[in-house]
């Protein structure tokens, strides 16, 4: 492990000499945390190097942890996964890639491993190769690789697939593109047989094939766009998925309509989900609506078995310098409503120094039944030339009519100065246990190449979400320090 790091250090150190005619950039991150709840501490460095010329590109990164990353906090990879590399070759419309890569087909119904968010420790890279042609007349992607199994800690699922699309009509006013995707998953699966004595016997594993095929249609026109993809699999008769999204422009307003329906469409193995199909449910940007347990990604395992979801969003500028968003989404299990939410947010930026956002929404679970009422106030005051003070207040009331309701709140106060950094005071609390989680965070832009982030205090257990991808984190009480140098 250490040798690889030394090699990469050598490469970076002498990169100017070795790659004199090439462009290069590099980055070093250093992370440390100490958690008094689990009495654990953790240190890691990650170094990245990118070297490229007109045709070739080499990306390397190496993670050097002090110990195995603690569960649920960072990517739980075995040591062979700490070294990442990607080699690319491009000539006009042709691109060939080899290494640990991210890609998706269509809207991800059949395959999507594009998720890579370091902040929440989620990386779904594929070790393999990909050839793509991206021209005005034809788009083609073919790939083969192996997926990391987070439960077996090895790459034991092989996958190959392609996407092919071509514009059928393309003029200034509208266009229509027709595309198709195909994926074949192959993995070993043990046969488990239960005897009459209730003992389980595990026999040698057998090779298991799962494949999926989809056709999609993409329309663009002056007043909006429409996308529809239909996929089917060989899992069982009637196993299929549909996803539709459309945006319609009406003067200054916009409608977004989404529909998804998945029937026995679970392309998973050992709880590893491969396709990450899109859903019509709303994605929240604030803290408390995301901490609702139902919205865990693992739930997609169930969701993809039988799910129908609808989503409608409406955006309009009520007055000048404002934006009103109203959205509704619902998920049905067969014909029964399982989850629904409604949310409205009004943004106003018409004042010289004030920016206001206010939101109100309800999330409702029919199964429990349980509901969450969310109120959000986000006020930003800009003063002097470069200073701003941002207050975000979130309140969530949860429960049902016949039992006592629980109040939760989240408060963020952030003072920031341009090109210097910010200091934030964060508080989360609940009246159920009279618990309070306080923390202070400093983000300091040391210079144009380096920055530092320091968090001291407590953080409540719950989900952190980025771009619709959520991950559950345990309660934290301690120190987090992060340093980044980049060139």
């Amino acid at each position: 492990m250490f040798k690889k790091s030394i090699i990469l250090v050598f490469l970076i150190f002498f990169s100017n000499q070795l790659f004199a005619e090439w462009t290069h950039s590099s980055k070093l991150t250093f992370d440390y945390y100490y958690d008094s709840v689990s009495r654990s501490k953790y240190t890691q460095t990650k170094s990245s190097l990118l070297v490229q010329n007109q045709q070739f590109k080499f990306e390397f990164s190496y993670l050097l942890p002090e110990q195995n990353p603690p569960e649920q906090s960072f990517i739980d990879y075995k040591s062979s996964e700490y070294f990442n590399y990607l080699l690319s070759y491009q000539y006009n419309d042709l691109m060939i890639r080899y290494g640990k890569l991210h890609t998706s087909l269509g809207k991800g119904l059949t395959f999507n491993n594009s998720i890579n968010f370091i902040d929440i420790g989620v990386d779904s890279n594929l070790l393999g190769s990909e050839i793509s042609i991206n021209s005005n007349q034809l788009n083609m992607t073919v790939f083969y690789g192996e997926i990391y199994n987070i439960f077996h800690h090895e790459r034991d699922v092989s996958v190959s697939g392609y996407e092919l699309s071509t514009p059928i009509i393309d003029n200034d006013r509208y266009s229509y593109t027709l595309g198709t995707t195909f994926v074949d998953y192959n993995f070993e699966e043990p046969i488990i047989q239960t005897t009459t004595n209730f003992f389980e016997t595990v026999q040698p594993s057998v090779s298991n094939d799962r494949n999926a095929f989809s056709v999609y249609h993409q329309f663009y026109y002056d007043f909006g766009s429409l996308y529809y993809e239909h996929a089917s699999t060989n899992l069982s008769k009637g196993s299929n998925g549909h996803y539709l999204s459309s945006d319609l422009y009406l003067q200054d307003s916009t409608f977004i309509l989404q529909y998804s329906h998945y029937e026995q469409f679970n392309l998973s193995h050992d709880n590893n989900i491969f396709q990450l199909a899109p859903t019509a449910l709303k994605t929240y940007t604030y803290t408390l609506p995301n901490k609702v347990l139902y919205r865990l990604n693992v739930d997609e395992l169930y969701v993809l078995n039988r799910q129908t979801a609808y989503g409608i969003s409406y955006y309009t500028p009520l007055i000048e310098d404002s934006l009103l968003e109203i959205s509704w989404s619902q998920e049905n299990d067969r014909s029964e409503t399982k989850y629904s939410d409604v949310y409205a947010q009004f943004d106003y930026m018409g004042f010289d120094t004030l920016e206001l956002k206010t939101g109100y929404g309800v999330q409702y679970f029919n199964i429990v039944p349980y509901n969450y009422i969310n109120i959000i106030e986000d006020i930003k005051w800009n003063f002097y030339e470069d200073y701003s003070f941002n207050t975000i207040l979130e309140h969530q009331k949860s429960g049902r009519a016949n039992i006592a309701r629980v109040n939760r709140y989240s408060m963020t106060f952030m003072l920031s100065k341009a090109q210097l950094g910010s200091i934030s005071f964060l508080r989360e609390g609940s009246d159920r246990s009279n618990s309070v989680w306080d923390g202070t965070q400093i983000d300091w832009l040391i210079n144009s190449r380096s920055s530092m982030r320091l968090f001291v205090g407590k953080r409540q257990a719950g989900q952190r979400c980025i771009g619709g991808v959520c991950r559950a984190f345990p309660e934290f009480d301690g120190i987090e320090l992060g340093l980044v140098y980049s060139l």
Binding site: V9, E21, S25, K27, Q54, Q218, Q258, L276, D386, Y485
Partner: protein, 175 residues
């Protein structure tokens, strides 16, 4: 722990060394191979757009953003106020969206409602974002006509755009 501290120190030395070399490259005007051909993405109407066609018009400001990233939107709003002025001087602006398929449906409405005047390109697999070693948006870059990075800024706080505009002013003066 010793390994970590040792590696951290070695890395720091490397970066200091690279930093010096990097400056030397700029001041000595050493020819560096460009990025131009490595960049081709689709716009909101599904049409392919390559960086080369933009670089021929002048320096290019690139901002990587996402619909779920509030600082990104603030930065684009701030940049759009001065877009006309700098665009008339030959500066090109490209806002590259990195929303993946889960949230990409929001891109068009956000662009439309916020009236962003920039060329909007889509990078759903973050291929180009990673090419510039991006971890988290917003990431703002300025490329010269050879496609070299001559300005880089990560994150956004109100007022950060002034640093970018000051850089562009200096660049346009020396042109």
């Amino acid at each position: 722990m010793k390994k970590i501290v040792a590696s951290f120190l070695v890395w720091s030395l490397c970066l200091v060394s690279l930093s010096a070399n990097d400056l030397k490259l700029s001041t000595d005007n050493v020819s560096v191979t460009d990025y131009q051909n490595l960049f081709s993405l689709k716009d909101l109407k599904g049409r392919k757009m390559d960086l080369k066609s933009q670089l021929t018009k002048g320096p290019v400001v690139i901002s990587f953003w996402a619909t779920w990233c509030s600082p990104c939107l603030q930065e684009l709003i701030a940049m759009s106020k001065y877009y006309k002025y700098y665009h008339s001087k030959g500066v090109q602006f490209i806002a590259i969206n990195i929303d993946d398929v889960k949230t990409q449906v929001k891109v068009s409405p956000v662009v439309r409602m916020r009236k962003f005047p920039f060329l909007i390109l889509l990078d759903p697999d973050q291929k180009i974002f990673k090419q510039f070693l991006g971890d988290y948006p917003p990431l703002t870059l300025v490329l010269d006509s050879n496609g070299r990075i001559i300005y880089k800024h990560v994150g956004y706080q109100k007022g950060d755009e002034k640093k970018l505009f000051a850089f562009l002013d200096t660049l346009l003066e020396t042109k």
